[in-house]
Symmetry: C2
Subunit: 216 residues, 2 copies
DNA sequence: GTCTATAAACGGATAGAC
DNA sequence: GTCTATCCGTTTATAGAC
């Protein structure tokens, strides 16, 4: 077995186990057993359990974030993109991964939904992986809702992140494809749903102009 | 020290540690040390580490869910409530807890945002605590958007849950109160923001009527 | 009820043979 | 590069004294 094959088998096994049981609840022993490799291989190839996690997340999210930024670059080269266009650049790449490989890569996407707490163990590694993408899209989205104050803009972006986390976690299994469904059509429908929901929420009138109209 | 005092000190200490470090990363030793009680007290009073967690969640969420249902009962007794009214009954109780006791109870609210995965360890316990409330509000919200198909209704409720998780987690610390802010005013503003965002998203036109209009 | 002491198992990591 | 064997700290849980 080559070096890369061993690494890939470990990464694949760890991805499934982390998604199913969580990071702390998954032992190195369980990973190497599931991968069919020796216990010492994790430390040999990744240095530590933490190193394995870092490589695991980077393997999946570096390509996604690169595609997101490339899409945003292409949009901004043509002028000021619409809110829907920015949202599509943000959501489409990760939704495609989530839908098209639910047993492998898609599981990893689920994991990250649980790793957003301020003092969580892996915040530093994750922060570095997402920092550049996060800054670019925060700025682009804020330019799409200039009529709101900064506080309201940021709060609504927080809600947007929540929707994305909810999509990734998919606690009710809505994203399970039916056997006979047209995959590409299904993906487009879900994408359109998410964008419609987020665009409407982000464009909702400011509380400064409609605060007292929300009852009945 | 009385029986109840010991239990409360353990619950308070566990709540803070779970919120900060997560469940698996927090040892019984750390909890009993922080609580100033003996190591054996956790197993004596709660049976196991799992039993402690169950009691911990129930202590905070049973009152919240009771208030949510009481609010919904009161609304439905008067007729068919508006979407905004149902959302307020759902969000206001938990937001109040999240804001008014950020160091104690509010932290527990953060924890649950990480415990929504299908096969997560505590899904059964959490599911039982939230099941009744979830069913009531799912039905009430769906009656507010009858023009959508069932699939779209459920998907948008999934997005709604995502926003609530994002609010509870508050990864950017937006909910940290400034020292000089008017607490009640701040809470009303945040509540109005969340409701406005969710109501707009839930009411967004169906993809059946506007699917191809989303590009700039 | 509370405590000390300890059981029994599991964790990540590594040394050294091959 | 891969493997076996092992180190050593930590974990939950419990038995039994007080």
């Amino acid at each position: 077995m080559t070096r890369q094959q061993t690494k890939d088998r470990i990464l694949d096994a760890a991805e499934k186990l982390y998604a199913e049981y969580g990071f702390a609840e998954t032992s190195t022993r369980a990973i190497t057993h599931a991968a069919g490799v020796n216990l010492a291989a994790v430390n040999y190839h990744f240095g530590s359990k933490e190193g394995l996690f870092r490589d695991l997340v980077a393997r999946r999210f570096d390509p996604i974030n690169a595609e997101r930024i490339a899409r945003l670059d292409a949009l901004e080269a043509l002028g000021e993109p619409s809110l829907e266009q920015v949202l599509e650049a943000l959501v489409a790449p990760i939704l495609a991964l989530r839908l098209n490989d639910p047993r492998g890569a898609g599981l990893l996407v689920q994991i990250t939904g649980r790793l957003t707490s301020p003092k969580q163990t892996h915040t530093d590694e994750l922060g570095e992986i997402f920092r550049k993408t996060s800054e670019r899209f925060m700025a682009a989205l804020r330019r799409c809702i200039p009529e709101l104050g900064e506080r309201e803009q940021l709060w609504r972006l927080n809600c947007t992140i929540g929707v994305m986390i909810g999509t990734m976690l998919d606690p009710h299994g809505f994203l399970q494809k039916e056997a006979d469904s047209d995959e590409l059509h299904f993906e487009r429908e879900v994408l359109a749903d998410i964008i419609a929901f987020l665009a409407a929420g982000l464009r909702a009138p400011s509380r400064n102009t409609s605060q007292e109209t929300r009852h009945g």
